[in-house]
């Protein structure tokens, strides 16, 4: 599949690898972002033709799409003759391959229907419900376009990955012209169906059964937590970074650069990619997770200051790599492992030293402290969360 796409689509090899990997779990959703004329629609159609052949429907956000065309419409003869409201479900609902061209131009009503389908795997029209079977959904948009509507962040969060395409270099332009001539200016039509949808479903089942090593699961969860955690509870705070971070001990950490944090879907998307990567390559390293995370994060978070989202996230992932290495040097998980078994004052002192360097670790230590305070092993005023003023949300002593 990757070879067939690469033979028709010039450049952007890394994103094509991610695009293919992302199709290996049920109800895969992919968003392609690029400036105009870089090949968003071509790549979208190549992918869908490679998997679904002709069983694909393209909804174009640029045209005036009505709900009836995307979800379903009333069967007028049934209504007139029998007075029965029968719904004719749209081809978009029934097809295996679903394409949305220029999703940022889609009207809010249609977007809400597609959002519901991605969330619950079903569609509603005229009080009737239809279950949507497994599918492949690929959408594209040009974020620089003057769009008619701004879609809510939860809608974008439903896309597993968001890949960015770049314009072609000089030599790549020559290659593109050769490819266009070779396929008589019809690249999409020349794309064969690489495997049937049934074969894809079999692959998806096998990928779902892949076991991930606890270390890799831990790294994925740590990565996502580092992009969420805030000792000042940013999620419930009315004041957001950078104002919220004034005077914070962790101001120079990853958390200080994030305005709106990741959702838990980021971890799920990364897990799916890691499973697919192991299924294809046999193994997966922490470096591979960082490379894949670059395409899982951009559409899910808002940074305090964005110059170039890909470069900014690359920078944060580089910090994450350093953080993981420092955690290993401090051997903090070993300390936590010991403390989970029983309280030990000497180990606790070392763990406290580690906690002032790491929010995610501090949170876990604070949870243990609360348990020790309840058990009478530790006094309240000796705890890290009292001394540093870090607290988890609580009401009348009950932690939520």
């Amino acid at each position: 599949m990757e070879r067939e796409i690469n033979s028709r689509f010039v450049g952007n090899e890394e994103v094509i690898r991610i695009l293919v990997l992302n199709q290996l779990h049920p109800r895969s959703t992919t968003l392609i972002r690029a400036p105009r004329g870089v090949g968003k629609s071509t790549l979208m159609l190549l992918t869908l033709r490679g998997i679904c052949g002709d069983d694909l429907v393209v909804v174009s956000g640029a045209s005036e799409v009505k709900r009836g065309e995307v979800v379903g419409r009333l069967h007028i003869p049934s209504l007139e003759r029998e007075g029965v409201e029968k719904v004719l479900w749209a081809a978009f609902v029934k097809s295996k391959g679903k394409a949305i061209d220029e999703v940022n131009r889609l009207n809010p009503y249609t977007t809400a229907n597609i959002h519901h389908m991605m969330q619950f795997g079903e569609v509603w029209a005229y009080g009737k419900k239809a279950k949507v079977e497994d599918y492949v959904l690929v959408a594209n948009e040009n974020p620089m376009d003057a769009t008619s509507f701004i879609h809510p962040p939860p809608f974008y969060d439903r896309f597993d990955v968001c890949i960015f395409l770049k314009s072609l270099t000089l030599s790549e332009k020559f290659r593109l012209q050769e490819i266009l001539e070779k396929y008589e200016w019809n690249i999409v039509e020349s794309m064969p169906q690489v495997f049937s949808f049934e074969e894809l479903e079999e692959i998806r089942k096998e990928v779902a059964e892949v076991e991930i090593d606890p270390t890799l699961t831990g790294y994925i969860n740590l990565l996502v937590r580092d992009f969420q955690a805030c000792i000042r509870n940013r999620e419930e705070s009315e004041v957001k970074p950078p104002a919220l971070c004034e005077g914070c001990h962790f101001i120079r950490d990853i958390c200080g650069r994030i305005k709106e944090p990741l959702s838990e879907r980021a971890a799920i998307a990364l897990m799916n990619l890691v499973k697919a990567y192991i299924w294809l390559s046999g193994k997966c390293e922490f470096e591979d997770i960082l490379r894949m995370a670059l395409w899982v994060l951009p559409h899910r978070l808002t940074l305090v200051r964005t110059r170039n989202i890909i470069n900014d996230i690359n920078d944060l992932l580089e910090r994450e790599r350093i953080k993981i290495a420092e955690r290993n040097i401090r051997k903090q998980w070993s300390l936590l492992n010991e403390l989970m078994k029983e309280f030990n004052s000497a180990v606790y002192r070392l763990a406290r030293d580690a906690a002032v360097e790491d929010v995610a670790f501090a949170e876990e230590l604070i949870k243990l402290e609360e348990k020790w305070v309840r058990e009478g092993v530790l006094k309240q005023d000796e705890t890290l969360y009292t001394q540093m003023g870090w607290q988890r949300p609580r009401y009348q002593g009950v932690v939520f």
Partner: protein, 122 residues
């Protein structure tokens, strides 16, 4: 109740980056060592400043220290300086106490000798 996978993650990390905790037979104190039994470096010395400080290993020609470790060492040094000042205060106090005890002992001997002239030292 913690997730089984979370426990497994911690246990695996503990195996890969072990800490040794040895309970002292004489007191309640512990000795914590970051030394790993597995994968010990073959080089004679270590380039990690923490290993040379905490594990007593010889230093290699080049020793690496990053900012976080430097801050850690700075903190530890500050703690030791404070401890040092405290100990010096105690030492001074003890010196006075020893001097006082010596003077008291000498005076006691002098009084005893003057009371009993029959006692001869030699």
């Amino acid at each position: 109740m913690e997730s089984e996978k979370y426990i497994k993650f911690l246990e695996k990390q503990a195996r890969e980056n072990p800490v040794k905790i040895e309970v002292s037979a004489r007191s309640d104190s512990f000795r914590i060592s970051w030394e790993s039994d597995e994968g010990k470096p073959t080089a004679k010395g270590s380039s990690d400043i923490l290993e040379t400080l905490y594990l007593g290993k010889d230093m290699q020609e080049t020793v690496i220290i990053n900012r976080k470790v430097a801050i850690l060492l700075q903190d530890r040094l500050r703690g030791l300086e404070e401890e040092n000042i405290r100990m010096r205060r105690r030492l001074r106090l003890l010196k006075f106490a020893v001097a006082f005890l010596i003077i008291t002992a000498l005076m006691s001997i002098f009084i005893v000798i003057s009371q009993y002239p029959s006692i001869r030292i030699f």
